[in-house]
């Protein structure tokens, strides 16, 4: 059976586990806001603590048929299917950036509906398939 | 066709770089592990040789570990 030595070691172990758990919970509640890599447009709309003219990261889907591009800037609507946010950006976009795809924009909020972006990152989903497969899926959807 | 394969639809650099890095670092770790193994086997045999003959014979017979190390050393030389 468990000897006394093993029992002391086990109690040492459990105390370490408890201390680390407390520590982690403390960290978690302090960093809760920072863990989120981006906010959604509706969170920005609801949350009153977000100040205008501050740096922020917003993520969502690029709305269909919303990309307007001229030689100076690109302008599109970022949506989470509840609220929408107009994004203005001048610079090159990632290859995967397109309509009805996820995107994360980093920039300054002008007001709650208008964002001037410094950087655009494309976000893709967890589905991987060959192009033929995608075609079939699209046709089935129709 | 080969150029097409190397280009990987314009993403060649990223694809080949990642496969290359994986291969090279795996080879490096293999080389390191092999080198240390050989080094310790050699040192072990040296130590064994320095023992008195009677003692050496006795432990070579009794220990499988020593037997297998000697076998792998003999293969090399």
């Amino acid at each position: 059976m468990l000897t006394k030595k093993i029992k002391t070691r086990l109690s040492f172990l459990i105390s370490i586990i408890l201390i680390t758990l407390c520590f982690l919970i403390f960290i978690y509640f302090n960093l809760k806001q920072n863990i989120l890599y981006f906010k959604t447009p509706s969170e920005i709309f609801i949350n009153n603590q977000i100040k205008e003219n501050s740096m922020i990261r917003v993520g969502g889907m690029v709305k269909k048929d919303s990309i307007r591009q001229n030689n100076k800037e690109i302008r599109f609507i970022l949506t989470d299917y509840k609220k929408e946010l107009i994004v203005v950006y001048s610079g090159t976009v990632p290859n995967l950036f397109s309509e009805e795809q996820g995107a994360v924009v980093e920039g300054v909020l002008n007001d709650k509906k208008y964002l001037i972006a410094d950087r655009i990152l494309a976000k893709h989903d967890e589905n991987y398939m060959p192009p033929q497969m995608k075609k079939i899926l699209k046709e089935n959807a129709k | 066709m080969i150029i097409e394969f190397l280009q990987m639809g314009g993403y060649g650099f990223f694809v080949w770089a990642s496969f290359f890095i994986v291969t090279v670092s795996c080879l490096f770790l293999y080389y390191r592990a092999r080198k240390t193994l050989k080094k310790y086997e050699k040192e072990f045999v040296k130590e064994l040789e320095s023992l008195p003959i009677k003692h050496k014979k006795r432990i070579t017979k009794s220990s499988k570990v020593i037997g297998s190390i000697l076998a792998s050393q003999n293969k090399l030389s």
Partner: protein, 234 residues
């Protein structure tokens, strides 16, 4: 108990090394040819999807080796099993290598798809923490030779590190991250097409065999080291 004596173990180790050497290259070549030639491109990402075949197995291996060595060093601390300590010592560098590889290949994958090499989102940060834990683990082997302290330090590191493991796994579900959610789940169907799963699992098998090979070589080295110390007492 005699089954696990060093004498018997080294015989198995030698046999296994031979076996792995005989099949490794066949599986590697099949895996690589599927990964680079026969597998289709992705509808969205094109050829960059091929990076997945080294990135995902490396990440899995890095995570599972850490879980293994963390549990082993906790068990070693409580029950003082010498063999477990040797296993931990031989596995740690392999795990570190694959964690670093998954970070590097991930960043090579991130640049063409996301548009950035690195982002401090929850998944990437927790993976970075895993690498830090591995480094701390290996450093404590090097600098704490003391038999009193080393198991305690390793246990503390293991507990901290093992809490990090579910954070890595679920970070993409709990928080908003740039990294996409898991494609292959324990339950339910995977969202990777079967033609892409074949190279993924072949490469996983090849890399696992490689890990086993390195582990056995390192483990054998450790046994020889111990035998060398005890040679006069035999």
């Amino acid at each position: 108990m005699d089954l696990f004596s060093f004498g018997n173990v080294i015989v198995y180790v030698n046999k296994l090394i031979k076996f792995i050497n005989s099949i490794f290259f066949v599986i590697l070549i099949i895996g690589l040819s599927f990964a680079l030639i026969f597998s289709p491109v992705d509808y969205l990402q094109g050829d960059t999807v091929r990076i997945m075949y080294v990135h995902v197995p490396s990440a899995w291996i890095g995570i599972s080796i850490f879980s293994l060595i963390a549990i082993s060093s906790i068990l070693n601390f409580v029950f003082k099993i010498k063999n477990l300590f040797l296993i931990v010592k031989s596995l740690a560098p392999i795990g570190l290598l694959f964690t670093c590889l998954s970070i590097v290949t991930g960043s090579l994958w991130g640049k063409p798809t996301w548009g950035t090499w690195w982002a401090w989102d929850a998944r990437l940060t927790s993976m970075f923490m895993l690498m830090v834990f591995y480094i701390l683990f290996i450093f404590s082997f090097k600098y704490f030779k003391n038999k009193e302290y080393l198991p305690k330090i390793l246990t503390a590191l293991s507990i901290l590190g093992i809490i990090n493991i579910p954070i890595i796994k679920y970070s993409v579900e709990w928080w908003s991250t740039l990294h996409q959610p898991a494609s292959i789940k324990f339950t339910g169907t995977s969202s990777i097409h079967s033609s892409m799963l074949i190279p993924l699992f072949l490469m996983l098998l090849a890399l696992l065999l490689y890990c086993a090979l390195i582990f056995l070589m390192k483990y054998k080295t450790e046994i020889i080291k111990i035998k060398k110390q005890n040679i006069k007492r035999l």
